[in-house]
């Protein structure tokens, strides 16, 4: 390997994304409604466990109304963000294909294959 190759390998070595990249991705998938949570084992039930479960359930129901509204808003934001990305991708693909068609028309020397096909 020559000097230039070595310099390029060193300069272009892999870098890591910021900490928590995978966790952020999984959180985003959860917001988007993609179920990624692993199954949890059923605990061994006892009366103290059941009592605490009941208390936790009551608290959970109380805050569900608030968190649901937040979830809906975040879901809409996430949905809109993805829609925007898809729109931009669709427009880029459209542009690329229009460009290819234009180049093909030029390649046949500007000969119009159908009326009005200048691009």
């Amino acid at each position: 390997m020559n000097q230039m190759d070595e310099k390029l390998k060193r300069a272009l070595r892999r870098r890591n994304p910021s900490t928590g990249f995978a966790d952020r991705l999984l959180a985003r998938m959860a917001v988007d409604g993609i179920d990624m949570t692993p199954r949890i084992e059923r605990p061994k039930w006892s009366w103290p466990t059941l009592r605490w479960a009941a208390i936790v359930t009551v608290i959970a129901i109380t805050v569900t109304g608030i968190s649901y509204r937040v979830h809906v808003h975040r879901s809409q934001e996430a949905e809109a963000r993805i829609a925007k990305q898809q729109v931009m991708l669709a427009l880029r693909i459209t542009g690329a294909k229009l460009r290819i068609a234009r180049d093909k028309v030029k390649a046949v020397g500007g000969e119009q294959t159908t009326p009005g096909d200048t691009l």
């Binding site: 020559n2 000097q3 230039m4 190759d5 310099k7 390029l8 390998k9 060193r10 300069a11 272009l12 070595r13 892999r14 870098r15 890591n16 994304p17 910021s18 990249f21 995978a22 952020r24 991705l25 999984l26 985003r28 998938m29 988007d32 993609i34 179920d35 990624m36 949570t37 692993p38 990305q85 931009m88 991708l89 880029r92």
Partner: protein, 168 residues
């Protein structure tokens, strides 16, 4: 391939560096590279049933992130591609012992036209052979080889002018 949630998370952690880095070395924008990398992994989740093996996943990831990064560069910068011999040199003239030398090399790479730049990134970051690069970018092997050869010649010339001495 089918994976449960934990399996997919593991797959992301295994390949996140590769995917992020291809975009980062190409675009030199950490935030955009992370965003593109996240989008690619999101898409990967939907594609998994169609991918047949770990090698296929790796090939697919390299292919999609390469194209996404080049698409982003085309739409974000909106500038005409420059011929290889019109590349401007970075202004700084670093010392040989200065760690900024690597940064200068990266700047030189960043000034290459999009396709040539991606070929160099895949060659030197991912250690891919020209025929593998051709499959990822949808180019004939001969085209990859000739663009790589020209790019290296240009990079070598610019680097030598920066350094003030020949580089083998």
């Amino acid at each position: 391939m089918t994976l449960n949630g934990a399996g997919f998370a593991e797959l992301v952690r295994e390949h996140q560096s590769m995917v992020f880095s291809i975009a980062y070395r190409f675009l030199r924008d950490r935030a955009v590279a992370e965003e593109l990398a996240q989008d690619v992994f999101l898409k990967l989740y939907g594609e998994l049933p169609r991918l047949q093996s770990p090698d296929h996943v790796k090939f697919w990831l390299r292919k999609v992130i390469s194209h996404r990064a080049m698409d982003h560069a085309r739409s974000a910068h909106r500038r005409h591609e420059v011929a290889l011999d019109e590349i401007r040199e970075p202004a700084a003239c670093p010392s040989r012992r200065d760690p900024l030398l690597e940064a200068s090399v990266r700047k030189l790479v960043a000034s290459l036209p999009h396709q040539a730049r991606m070929i160099v990134v895949l060659r030197y970051q991912e250690d891919m052979e020209p025929h593998e690069i051709g499959k990822v970018l949808g180019l004939p092997t001969a085209t990859v080889k000739s663009r790589l050869h020209r790019s290296l010649a240009v990079l070598r010339g610019k680097a030598e002018r920066l350094m003030g001495e020949p580089i083998r």
